[in-house]
Symmetry: C2
């Protein structure tokens, strides 16, 4: 690999001058700067990121912390889309991304230690259990952090507007004439709490009674569980006319439960999802759901994180809320 030294000997200047020229310092003449830039390009020079990092304590690397359990993680469309957008934004600012985890390799280390070892400039935490020791360590550490869909004190958070999303769905469903609305919730988490709050609030506003019997505890991303819950709801004496599923993916379980009961969507029972994944619009009937703005969530997370990194003095933390958009499918029937 061609180094600063190679350029310096070729051009008859010192290494320092080359470094300064390439980094745009002002104490090098325009003439030599151009000469050096030209030589660097010709020789195919690229800075050695490790050497630079060693000296500057900046790696231009962003850590991504998430749960790679089956069902969440990379194969989760929401996370994949957020990550993709995060990646694009980060890269345009010159940052690369590295997956951070409890590395079980040669050295056993915690997630936070992993961050330190790799010297990431910042970390984004998403789609994971936020109540673990590993997360706390990172949150309490001295590395810039942005969280997605979870709020910690003194840390910037990007929040998908789950409350508003559910509210819009409730309003839509209510306007279609539904009164008995069931809600199969996702697993206990900040997101689930906010959705539930939105659900109750919107129901109140629409004058719809929230029957506790219709609030079931389900799981995100778990069609089997959702199948069961849906069956339970169907078996009820005064069955709901509409079911809120934990998310689009799970809703497939709900669809099947309904079908297996000899009923159909939306004639006999209406269904709404959440997420707006691609598949939801390939179903028939198309699913009425709430599309989370993953592009904005990801890019905003990257922007905020980079801002924290590049302005270390800012102790100011923000909570940024990202709205989504209701997608009207054909899974909710208009009641007379």
């Amino acid at each position: 690999m061609v180094s600063l030294k190679d350029i310096s000997v070729r051009c008859g200047v010192s290494v320092a001058t080359v470094s300064k020229a390439l980094n745009g310092h002002k104490d090098v003449s325009e003439a030599t700067r151009e000469r050096l830039l030209k030589a660097a390009k010709e020789m195919g020079y690229f800075p050695n990121s490790q050497a630079r990092a060693l000296k500057t304590n900046r790696t231009l690397n962003l850590g991504v912390m998430f749960s790679d359990d089956a069902g969440s993680g990379l194969t989760h469309e929401f996370f994949a889309k957020v990550l993709n957008s995060f990646k694009t934004e980060a890269e345009s600012a010159g940052y690369d991304i590295t997956f951070i985890n409890k590395n079980v390799g040669r050295q056993k280390m915690s997630t936070y230690e992993h961050c330190k070892y790799r010297n990431v400039d910042g970390v984004v935490i998403a789609c994971t259990d936020f109540t673990t020791q590993d997360v706390y360590e990172v949150i309490n550490g001295d590395i810039p952090v942005v969280t997605i869909d979870h709020i910690f004190d003194c840390r910037t958070a990007i929040m998908s507007n789950n409350e508003k999303g559910i509210e819009e769905l409730v309003n839509y469903v209510a306007d279609m004439g539904h009164k008995r609305i069931a809600y199969i919730q996702g697993n206990k988490s900040a997101v689930a709490d906010r959705r539930l709050a939105g659900f109750c609030k919107a129901c109140m506003n629409k004058g719809i009674e929230v029957d506790p019997a219709l609030l079931l505890a389900g799981d995100y991303h778990n069609p089997e569980k959702t199948y069961e819950m849906t069956k339970e709801l169907i078996a009820m004496s005064d069955r709901p006319t509409c079911i809120f599923m934990p998310d689009d993916y799970s809703s497939m379980g709900g669809f099947n439960a309904i079908k297996d009961s000899g009923l159909s969507v939306p004639e006999d029972i209406s269904v709404v999802g959440y997420d707006g994944i691609a598949y939801s619009q390939l179903l028939s009937p198309k699913l009425t759901t709430y599309l989370q703005d993953t592009a904005t969530i990801g890019s905003e997370a990257a922007k905020q994180l980079i801002s924290l990194i590049e302005n270390p003095q800012t102790t100011f933390t923000e909570v940024i809320t990202v709205d989504g958009r209701l997608i009207e499918g054909a899974s909710v029937k208009k009641l007379v």
Copy 2:
């Protein structure tokens, strides 16, 4: 951050000795080694990966090169699963992974230059157009490379056994009594070629005529296109009794086309997919498809790549074929 030097002054030995003790060199007594290890642990020492990389020219970082266009990349379940498995295997060997691309950040650089800049120890290439300049540069470079689902001379490749997969599907369908089988292919690529070869071969073996009119050019991961193609097939005077879809995701388009034509699966027309994604088993009827062994593909890619890295002398390149498994759903009807 605590460094070797910190440990050395605390324990009254030289930096060199600490380094050697921690790296398991033999020229340090068992007594001092233990003393130093203990101190290192107490002080919370972790090696500085950049400094180490600078000296050893090994970063313990693996580059992942893929296409992040919409439709492929992270949101593609096949790739996501392969990546996840690759990641797990790599991490257990102490490697982290970094996404490699044409970085458009501060410095404009090609993918290969990006590899050099980040000093990745090796690169895996998957799910991308293998005929681009960017890929050639990497293939012809001096970094260890493993490719997935594409074979280059002198480079190790992991191949999902597409040929066998299609063959098994054809055999299954033939055994169910089908004679007129249509095949909507994916976009022109090595994978598509192999699948077509498998298709033709298996048909011959089963004594089934391959009607060119039933071999349509479609796209992978494109339900809309598949919808159209399926419509065309349905409109034919002597309509096929079974359709091979490009992949499971696309098959949703096929399902909808059939439904929209007032027909149903599998009563009127049978369907098989490819990939074995989670959704395929949530459809009703469940899709008969071929599950690619993404876990093995990913982990094998990592193992091979690491082996190439850690045994630099081996000029030996392999092509490793990974079989999958047919999943029998209910989308193929048994003909009398």
